[in-house]
């Protein structure tokens, strides 16, 4: 026992330092990994990461090219005094292999600079008369036949939003989002900036 070599204090500290550093890294990873997993799961069904697209420019997203044509105000009978109705017209050109059903998964909303958002009127509750289909890849034609977006051909559709009166339409940003994306990273969405 007495012949044993004395333990080097600096060597022991070095070994403990590495062990502590490893424990700290593992602890940090144990916190971050579930957070990252939950965020990924959330991003599959919620817009998280915007891709800003200037108005009149187009952007590739989920197997198609998307463009905002215009954003206009539309009258609606019986509208509440403090609100107004905006209509965004979009054009989408599907890539080869992209089906109308895939495009129809799209959701739209509009946001302001403060991060507030308003969903598109998906079920016609606002009672606005439409001049274009509301779905991103299919609709009903004038003769009540089903019409669909074809690859390479421009398809126009419109989305309706009810926003508070007093908001400057030029500061509002219509958005397009695809839940359960097949080609894009989860959570990515298009935000058309004024």
């Amino acid at each position: 026992m007495s012949d044993a070599a004395p333990v080097s204090r600096s060597g022991a500290r070095q070994r403990q330092r590495l062990w502590l550093l490893g424990a700290a890294l593992l602890g940090a990873w144990a916190l971050y990994a579930p957070y990252r997993e939950a965020r990924q799961a959330y991003a599959r069904t919620h817009p998280l990461r915007p891709v800003d697209v200037p108005t009149a420019a187009s952007a590739a997203y989920e197997g198609a090219r998307w463009r905002l044509l215009n954003l206009t105000e539309r009258d609606r009978p019986g509208q509440r005094d403090d609100a107004r109705v905006l209509v965004a017209r979009f054009e989408v050109v599907a890539d080869e292999g992209t089906t109308p059903r895939q495009l129809d998964r799209c959701r739209s909303r509009i946001s302001d600079a403060r991060g507030r958002v308003w969903n598109a009127d998906a079920f016609g509750q606002l009672g606005v008369r439409h001049t274009l289909p509301q779905a991103c890849g299919s609709g009903t034609g004038a003769d009540f036949r089903r019409i669909e977006a074809r690859p390479g051909k421009p398809w126009q559709f419109e989305q309706v939003y009810q926003v508070p009166r007093g908001l400057d339409a030029k500061t509002l940003r219509p958005e397009i989002f695809m839940p359960w994306p097949e080609r894009e990273p989860a959570g990515r969405y298009l935000r058309f900036t004024p």
């Binding site: 609100a83 507030r116 958002v117 308003w118 969903n119 926003v163």
Partner: protein, 199 residues
């Protein structure tokens, strides 16, 4: 003192201290439900109460044995309850994202009474159950509850985003309805026989 104790006793004392600390900490440990419980923001009648993504002003409370509501044409009908109807009139606004709001009454005995659905009573533009709110577009209306009269004293109104129960780790607004000091007799005296909801 510690100088008189031998090393074995000192170790035993530290061990006992550690065991007691573990037991106490374990007893005080919050449950899984506590960890995920909503954050309660409390307020009173007439006061604007703002939570993470919801703001409300509750104007008042009314009690009634029955409601008179519109029926087909110019007819009316009576909506009864085995208990008592409690209605709260309020203005609500979501602050960031569109969402429906829900309400329930949390009683002194720990019971929760969920607000009646949008068809009980069906008063278009008034019953806020199931109505989706949007930022900057506040809605003014009422929530309606059916509960035993004995549960009214001390009941608190809870309002939250979403259609069912309060979201985990989300905000929950709790409003003191001012009935805490009332006796059962005083509550009975406040109950109107009928409230006409047609106008």
């Amino acid at each position: 003192m510690s100088a008189r104790l031998g090393p074995a006793w000192r170790s035993a004392l530290w061990l006992a201290f550690g065991v007691v600390a573990v037991v106490l900490l374990r007893k005080a440990q919050p449950s899984y439900e506590d960890k995920l419980a909503p954050f309660v923001v409390r307020g009173a009648l007439g006061q604007r109460v703002e939570a993470r993504d919801l703001a409300v002003v509750v104007d008042g409370v009314r009690l009634a044995r029955r409601y008179r509501v519109a029926d087909i044409g110019d007819e009316s009908r009576v909506l009864r309850t085995p208990g008592v109807w409690l209605s709260v009139v309020l203005e609500a606004e979501v602050l960031r994202e569109p969402a429906p709001i829900s309400a329930r009454l949390h009683t002194r005995d720990g019971y929760d009474y969920q607000a009646a659905g949008d068809d009980r009573p069906r008063v278009r533009g008034v019953n806020l159950s199931g109505i989706e709110l949007a930022p900057g577009l506040p809605a003014r209306g009422a929530f309606f509850f059916e509960l035993p009269p004995a549960q009214v004293p001390g009941a608190r109104l809870q309002i939250y985003r979403g259609p069912l129960t309060p979201g985990q780790m989300d905000s929950l607004i709790e409003i003191d309805l001012g009935t805490g000091a009332q006796t059962a007799e005083q509550v009975q005296a406040r109950i109107a026989d009928e409230i006409d909801l047609r106008s």
